[in-house]
Symmetry: C2
Subunit: 472 residues, 2 copies
């Protein structure tokens, strides 16, 4: 009676999963309000039937928009119906907050239900002690598998792989293989190829499932298997593995240990996450921010942004000291102070354009030793060309503004110089950073704009001092 | 005899495909030199055996690093052995250059060998006339299929889908389905699910291949098919389709027309390309460049960068005119001209940090109506906090440099004001642009740095004028 009451209290017009999203792609506010009310009323029945059955990514999305205390309550109320896979879909800070509040027993129960790659994803962020306690509560095979994954370096293929896979000996027929798959109930939830191994688990080849289905029952596995050219060493960096997936359009790839033994399978869905994360990393680094997330604390975020601002402060003082050299000239002709930021700003923008293209080209390997000199020459010409266009424009406007054609000529000349410097800095600095093993995205902006600020002020104020005969 | 001679002239130590890449991930220069020599010598035999058999992405990579005239020669020499799929792996400019030089007959032959999605990818960039001529040379079914894809809007799911798929009626058994796949030779090259349709091609459901393999021969298709919750309308934008793939970890999805009829299948490999392109687009737009590629001409590149530089020129003059208001103050105290770029530069950097995080959060839908006000408050606090830290630093250094503690105080106050403005501009401008349907990445930088330049100059020079009693 009490239950049917609670059930009717919170109603959603349509329980179809995808309908939790509105037209704009955000979660419907009506749905969220109902969930919030159900959490406040501890309406377990409603939550289990309308939230517990959602796709993990949908549940993860809901967790992200809830208030912290609502998150804990929801996980608690769902109990066994809480799908731990949702934790792989939320920001790290939220995941840790939820997991830290759960007893290790419940975490052990929860990760047991997951594919090993998802389980590792959740376990790897915990501290050593909790990790060990949770592993100890798992069945033997699970424990061995997860521990092996966790022993590989962070961000390696071994960490991201799934340790469940289907493997058969080469002398089996396709018929035997299909029968095995029909009978064995310990298969992975999803798989797209069958691996072929020898008795010591050494990888011999693979067969895509569509190939299995198209082949007669009597054909032998070894006759249709293809050599796995793209087996991935478990210690390979996940970014490198992602590049192989992308280049060869793989759906899944065997992961092998140092003895060429099959230890797991890397699947495209994990790789998509890696690709996205890597592209995001470039963007964030060029913007001078680390891998911060909106759910990080204010103090943590503030602190993570300070180093970049400090470097910028230092280079800003460097530019200022260049201006300082020309104090006497500025005092005689204040128009210079008014105009000088224009030269620096245009150079900074042109350099950013070139640098953006260069950083991206390095990341996608579109720039290499074969075309580097061609690309550098190309950027220099573009810089010169755009420099000339804007020199004419700025010269006319500035000369007219201050009724001083000579000043117009000087700013035009400074502009050409700075736009050329911008193009060269924009391409050479990322290339050099990459050459010496640094990430071209992380440090390019600050170096590049320093070059254009210093060159811009030096060229403009220097030319003015020389032409108008003021001695600094 | 002549042939065996040519064959021995160009030797590669190992013909294994992946070995064309060196340790650094670039194509080995020795391999490239050999290919170049073989092209020069028109050594067809060598090229067919060592280049013709490469993976399309490898062949594409080689085409990209060759000189333009070498590219044409290579395609010509390979003749029928040239795999047109390689054209889907190169920059648009290179693709057009190669295709434009080929007779339409050869293009028709080449695209016939491809999956329909790859064929559309090559055809869609050609002009209407060539497209029609090539389509006319194709067999009826191919022509109908490709024309249908080409009729969908650019960058839609219908353009990216593959029109080859496996579909069976619901009343078939798994045994019948497997037998059909064993016998029919017109199946797609690769597929990961079997679709279930009614006689009018309306989509009823789907079965993943691993499910087919795990199920007994006598089970009916309709009993194990799952409802396809994520069928994608052919007119849906490819980016939206990619988000569905990502959220639900799909490997492939049915594409349906306006009558819910199955018209094709969208696969994860195409989606990976979309995800990558979209992430790249954000990066490029924030850097003030369009979708330029290294293979574009100098003139085209220069022209595509001018609009952004023009906008920047305009805003730079706006900032300059703010400085112009304070000419009298600067003349009395040149130190202001020396220090003012520091205030503007720090604000610009802080704003870029906030803006980068915001643009990314909007793209990944991490920011929405539920947390917008929370995030705005958070950024304002971070801006104020970092503003205070750097105010103290800059105040001390500037005051010491010019032996003027009051000047130090003034620059410190201006810094706090500008860092707060930077934080607010960095978050509010992208949010507003997004709210009004504009891409937050494309226009944010220029607006945001205008705010910080103007605020920085106004706050610093204005406070100085007020404090030191100079009247502008």
């Amino acid at each position: 009676m009490a239950e049917s009451e609670t059930q009717t209290r919170h109603e959603v017009t349509d329980s179809h999963g995808s309908d939790i999203y509105g037209e704009d792609g955000a979660i419907r506010s009506s749905f969220l309000a109902t969930v919030g009310a159900a959490i406040a009323d501890r309406d377990v029945l409603f939550l289990r039937s309308h939230v517990g059955g959602l796709h993990p990514s949908e549940l993860g999305h809901i967790l992200e928009v809830l208030q912290p205390e609502q998150r804990q309550a929801l996980v608690q109320l769902l109990g066994e119906d809480f799908n731990f896979a949702a934790l792989t879909e939320v920001d790290e800070a939220i995941r840790l907050q939820i997991v830290d509040a759960l007893p290790n027993d419940q975490i052990a129960e929860g990760v047991q239900e997951l594919d090993s790659d998802d389980a590792v994803y959740i376990l790897e962020d915990l501290d050593q002690e909790d990790q060990e306690e949770i592993l100890a509560k798992l069945p033997f095979t699970e424990r061995i598998r997860l521990r092996r994954s966790l022993e590989y370096p962070e961000e390696s293929a071994g960490r991201r792989m799934q340790t469940e896979f289907v493997a058969v000996p080469p002398f089996w027929t396709i018929g035997q293989t299909i029968d095995y798959m029909r009978e064995d109930h310990d298969l992975p939830d999803h798989f797209s190829q069958v691996f072929v191994i020898d008795p010591t688990f050494r990888l011999l080849g693979a067969i895509a499932l569509d190939r299995v289905l198209r082949t007669g029952r009597n054909v032998k596995v070894e006759d249709i298997m293809h050599e796995t050219r793209h087996a991935i060493p478990a210690t390979m960096d996940q970014e490198e593995a992602a590049q192989i997936f992308e280049q060869y359009d793989l759906l899944s790839a065997a992961v092998v240990d140092e003895n060429e033994r099959l230890v797991g399978v890397l699947t495209i869905d994990d790789v998509v996450d890696v690709i996205q994360a890597e592209a995001e990393e470039d963007l964030m680094r060029m913007g001078g921010v680390g891998d911060e997330e909106l759910s990080d604390s204010v103090i943590a975020t503030s602190r993570s942004r300070v180093p970049w601002l400090l470097v910028n402060l230092f280079t800003a003082f460097l530019s200022a000291s260049v201006i300082g050299l020309f104090e006497a000239t500025i005092q005689e002709m204040v128009a210079l102070a008014v105009l000088m930021p224009i030269v620096a700003s245009m150079g900074g923008n042109a350099a950013t354009q070139t640098m953006t293209v260069t950083v991206r080209a390095i990341a996608t390997r579109d720039i290499d030793i074969y075309n580097a000199s061609r690309v550098i020459r190309r950027e220099a010409i573009i810089g010169l060309l755009n420099g000339l266009i804007f020199a004419v424009l700025i010269g006319l406007v500035a000369g007219g503004w201050f009724h001083n054609p000579q000043l117009g000529g000087i700013i035009a000349a400074a502009m050409v110089i700075n736009m050329l410097a911008a193009a060269l800095a924009g391409i050479l600095i990322p290339l050099l950073l990459h050459r010496f093993g640094a990430d071209p995205a992380i440090a390019s902006s600050v170096f590049v704009t320093t070059v254009t600020d210093v060159t811009g002020f030096l060229a403009f104020l220097g030319l003015a001092t020389w032409w108008f005969g003021v001695h600094p």
